[in-house]
């Protein structure tokens, strides 16, 4: 592989995988700590009708209208889930499951009806993303990194992913302590006068933004995997809030990079002449990371710990 090929084909896809998986890994810890990991699953699917609507209205795969449509759909989904819980008095998991599958199905119908499917959105793309299509055709080599003309031709998914990642990291830093309390004891947060409902809504919108930015690159299945697996693996290894949240983001980003890097060489190592779907490899690594964390935890628990003092 030449340097030029690396810059044109691999670098943008690699960066997209790192940003997408890192953003999802960052927010996954909050969902996990709130025992609400299903919500990540729900939001990453419920955004589909909004994405299709944004696509249908503008007639192009432009980042911003699709992002706004997705956020609107996510907001609506959160509202409807709350409504179903109250009115139908269903438990949270059932209400969430019923609403997001309906939203996703509506999105698929919209996709057929608006003709989006025939252009360049289809079910495969929704489920697995198009990581391999994130390419930087203007790149010539290292010099392109400093060339404004070439940089302007970077794939637009990268700009969206980078902007979302920066905004999310900033918001998490800004809301660091209230989010900690919101995850632990939301009623107490409300009782002492923190805007618990507003924080909850902000967190849901952040998850929706991460999901939709990552969705196009890596697909909805990997979004779900990256919202759950890095956070779950880190949770088995640490009892520190800071290590949990930052570790989730770092592990997500690392899995994205490693998965993308392995997708080509892995089959070759076994003498096979094909490349694996990168999203598939990243998702598989996510599951392996959780399994590895379980083994590590077992090994650590086998060594003696100070006993809990009663009283």
């Amino acid at each position: 592989m030449t340097t030029e090929d690396f810059f044109r084909l691999d670098l943008p896809a690699l960066l997209a995988a790192i940003l997408a998986c890192g953003s999802c890994g960052l927010l996954g810890s909050f969902l996990l700590l709130r025992r609400d990991s299903l919500l990540g699953d729900a939001l990453s699917h419920a955004v589909l009708p909004g994405i299709i609507a944004g696509f249908a209205i503008t007639g192009a795969r432009a980042g911003l209208p699709m992002l706004l449509g997705a956020l609107a759909a996510a907001l609506l989904a959160v509202f409807v889930i709350g409504l179903v819980r109250r009115v139908a008095r269903l438990e949270s998991g059932a209400a969430t499951g019923a609403v997001f599958t309906s939203f996703f199905a509506l999105g698929l119908m919209l996709m057929e009806a608006t003709g989006a499917r025939s252009v360049d959105l289809d079910l495969d793309c929704v489920l697995f993303g198009q990581l391999e299509s994130v390419v930087w055709l203007e790149a010539q080599g290292f010099a392109s990194l400093l060339d404004p003309v070439a940089l302007a031709a970077l794939p637009r998914q990268l700009f969206l992913l980078a902007a979302v990642a920066v905004v999310l990291a900033g918001l998490v830093a800004l809301l660091w302590r209230p989010l900690h309390l919101l995850c632990f004891d939301p009623d107490y947060a409300a009782a002492i006068g923190l805007p618990a409902r507003g924080l909850e809504l902000a967190l849901n919108l952040m998850v929706a933004a991460a999901a939709v930015a990552a969705f196009e690159a890596v697909g909805s299945i990997l979004v779900v995997a990256m919202l759950v697996c890095p956070a779950a693996a880190i949770r088995l290894l640490t009892d520190s809030y800071r290590a949990q949240v930052l570790g989730g983001a770092a592990l997500g980003a690392a899995l994205g990079a490693l998965g993308y890097a392995l997708a080509g060489p892995l089959p070759a190592a076994f003498g096979q002449n094909f490349a694996l779907n990168a999203a598939g490899v990243i998702g598989t690594l996510g599951g392996l990371a959780v399994a590895g964390a379980m083994v590590l935890r077992q090994l650590r628990n086998a060594s003696p710990k100070p006993a809990i003092i009663s009283g």
């Binding site: 302590r177 209230p178 107490y188 009782a191 006068g193 923190l194 290590a243």
Partner: protein, 255 residues
């Protein structure tokens, strides 16, 4: 309402009605707390926790209102402390005892960066009051049930409030912890503050509390323990549900 000309009551509830779906849990509660140590007592499902949670605005009420020190909760939020039920949270959570106590002071600090030293010291002071100073840096999941209950008590104390609403502060703790907690509550009241606690153990009401509210969906009786906590009132609150043992305690322990 006789107090309205002097100091307003720490908590005054008027015509409070609360329902979950179509099941009404609290009917038209009108009750005024008196400064001091007050128990809310009643059978399971009587709406004791619901009363505290509705007063704090954590669940919507159909009618009525709660006023604290004569004002709405939003105006005096920093004068009202809360201790939720221990079982209401997941204790297998990445936080130390000190982290949890610091949470009570979040409204007083910036949302980002390190916890200011003064706030951390205040939180350590609260842990010291409940005898957990040595365990400040321990993971909350590795504390015993009684220690977890005392962490919640310390968190409430660190709010530095004038009225504390406590949901079962004695739930599932051993006798020694119960004595330690009541000692703390007495110290709090001795400094002119008030505590309203949901309580389950009828036998300790007379020795622990000055005031009582007997609840069973409605306010059955309220007032000083000596006058309001009568076997007759207890029987009315518990209805047919007062078991033989509780009956014996109520009649034998009081007269």
């Amino acid at each position: 309402m006789s107090q309205s000309t002097t100091t307003p009551a720490p908590l005054a509830i008027t015509h409070l009605t609360v329902a979950y779906g179509d099941k009404t849990v609290l009917w038209d509660i009108t009750w005024q707390a008196v400064p001091g140590l007050t128990a809310i007592v009643g059978p399971n499902g009587a709406g004791k926790s619901t009363l505290l949670r509705a007063a704090l605005g954590l669940i919507p009420s159909i009618a009525g209102e709660a006023r604290f020190f004569g004002r709405s909760l939003d105006e005096v939020r920093n004068r009202v402390g809360y201790l939720p039920q221990r079982a209401s949270v997941d204790w297998d959570f990445p936080a130390t005892a000190l982290d949890v106590v610091c949470m009570s002071r979040y409204p007083r600090m910036r949302w980002w960066g390190r916890v200011p030293k003064a706030e951390r010291e205040a939180a350590r002071g609260a842990l010291d009051q409940v005898g957990l100073a040595d365990l400040a840096d321990r993971q909350i999941g590795r504390l015993s049930g009684g220690q977890q209950q005392r962490v919640f008590l310390a968190r409430a104390l660190a709010q530095d409030a004038d009225l504390y609403l406590m949901d079962e502060p004695f739930a599932a703790v051993d006798a020694a912890t119960e004595q330690a907690i009541i000692a703390v509550l007495r110290r709090v009241v001795a400094t002119g503050r008030s505590v309203i606690a949901v309580h389950h153990d009828l036998s300790t009401v007379p020795s622990y509390f000055d005031q009582v509210l007997l609840l069973n969906g409605r306010a059955v009786a309220a007032g000083a323990v000596k006058s309001a906590f009568t076997p007759d009132a207890i029987a009315r609150a518990y209805g047919g549900r007062l078991n033989v043992l509780e009956q014996a305690v109520a009649e034998g322990g009081l007269q």
